[in-house]
């Protein structure tokens, strides 16, 4: 397994976020995205998740273009964004069971996943009764409930206590040891063995020059 991007560019609205970004992540690799707020970490993760089509460049999985078979790409990734995607009316186990079942027809290891984030006792509690940190852990345990080789995590440690951050680090390391890949954006350094770092801010888009600007020659 090898996940790579070449010459990636991203445009949101009419603003270019980054351009000419390359990365190459082998099996078991961890890519940590850094950069100040607004530098495009979340946008890059959304591009990698195929939620947002790249404005330029190409993503490949084992040398094959991801855009050629987007459904296969979606089946092999877990994306954890800023939203928790939890329904307050459903119990923790019901929430998790739904996502695991959607990812994997046979259903997933819901109770095992809850256990690993220390939520086993809360399995039958409605999510509206959980604290913010517990909701965050429940949301993260979704990625453990069904297997997928590629994890894309956007600020996974926000709102977690020290113990849960260690659990998260251990789960990421276990996932990598099994050959999985992780791309994560974080401001809080996580203790991961030989991680690759990528500063999104190092790939600024080319400034708009008079030649590129269709309005530059306008007469007003």
């Amino acid at each position: 397994m090898r996940f790579a991007g070449r010459d990636l560019g991203c445009v949101r609205g009419d603003r270019a976020i980054f351009a000419g970004l390359d990365f190459d992540l082998p099996a078991g690799g961890a890519l940590v995205l850094s950069g100040p707020n607004g530098s495009g970490k979340s946008s890059l993760l959304r591009v990698l998740a195929s939620l947002l089509p790249p404005a330029a460049g190409q993503l490949t999985w084992d040398g094959q273009d991801v855009a050629a078979d987007p459904e296969a790409h979606r089946a092999r990734l877990h994306y954890q964004g800023h939203h928790e995607a939890l329904k307050p009316e459903l119990t923790a186990a019901e929430n998790l069971g739904f996502w695991a079942g959607l990812q994997q027809p046979a259903g997933g290891a819901v109770h095992d996943a809850l256990n690993r984030f220390g939520l086993a006792d809360l399995a039958e509690q409605p999510v509206r009764l959980l604290s913010a940190g517990q909701r965050r852990r429940l949301s993260l345990s979704r990625i453990l409930a069904s297997p997928a080789p590629l994890w894309l995590l956007d600020e996974p440690s926000v709102g977690l206590d020290a113990r849960s951050v260690r659990t998260l680090e251990a789960e990421i390391e276990a996932h990598r040891a099994a050959g999985g890949l992780v791309v994560l954006a974080t401001h809080q350094p996580l203790d991961l063995a030989d991680q690759q770092e990528l500063s999104v801010a190092d790939f600024p888009p080319a400034p708009v020059t008079a030649d590129d600007d269709p309005w530059a020659g306008a007469l007003w």
Binding site: M1, A49, A75, F98
Partner: protein
């Protein structure tokens, strides 16, 4: 060179997987609707209460009420569906569920169709069940009931399907709930026209078959097109 690696998630029979994904989304949405009954009840209550208002406004001549009964049932049912459309996608959009659904291996049109099915079961079906009560209040002759229900059974799923496109297109727009009726109402007019004229034809002693066939054709076309259109709009919204 072009050999594809065997992917554990992609392996296996895709057919039952699709069906299972569909069933899971329907079951989840029904369970959510059951846990917050207020939302689903609102549409039916609106339907019954609005229909009850007309006699107060226009007087209680039996002949007049009888004549306008199909129209009142259809117009109020249509407005009740409109009222419920915003909740079809909005909550899932706001809490990030929709973007995870767009990333799931189950194709998005299948998920959209499942959500529309659940919407119809919690909105259209209760309206269908409440329609005879209103017809009774308006003194609709007995021979009209069967056709009214048949027309509603064909028409309300069409309303949910078309509405899903409008609801998906307005995701992310400010005051999207206000935009939905503007987008959707013009497309509801054919359903309204044929739904009312089916009952009128029956009461005039004519066959309602052509109207019902047309409504069936409309439903089939909506099933074939609306989930793809709505899925495209959802993909735009979660970009």
């Amino acid at each position: 060179m072009q050999e594809t690696a065997v992917d554990p998630a992609a392996a296996g029979d895709p057919g039952p997987g699709l069906l299972r994904g569909f069933a899971r989304v329907v079951a989840r949405d029904l369970r959510l609707a059951l846990r917050q009954r207020g939302d689903a009840l609102l549409a039916v209550l609106f339907f019954v209460l609005t229909a009850m208002l007309f006699p107060f406004g226009i007087g209680q001549e039996p002949n007049l009420l009888q004549r306008i009964a199909p129209g009142v049932v259809w117009v109020t049912a249509l407005l009740a569906v409109l009222l419920s459309l915003e909740r079809l996608f909005l909550r899932d959009y706001e809490d990030g569920s929709l973007e995870l659904m767009a990333l799931s291996p189950v194709p998005l049109p299948v998920i959209v169709l499942a959500k529309v099915t659940a919407h119809w079961l919690t909105t259209g079906l209760p309206l269908l069940a409440a329609a005879p009560i209103i017809a009774l209040m308006y003194g609709l002759p007995a021979e009209g009931y069967g056709i009214l229900l048949a027309a509603m059974a064909l028409g309300t799923p069409t309303l949910s399907l078309i509405g899903a496109v409008g609801a998906a297109l307005t995701l992310g727009a400010r005051r999207g709930g206000v935009l939905i009726p503007l987008l959707v109402l013009p497309l509801y007019i054919p359903v309204l026209i044929f739904g009312v004229s089916a009952v009128d034809a029956q009461m005039a002693g004519l066959s309602a078959r052509p109207q019902l066939l047309l409504m069936g054709a409309g439903l089939l076309a909506a099933i074939a097109l609306a989930p793809w259109a709505a899925a495209g709009a959802v993909r735009q919204a979660v970009e």
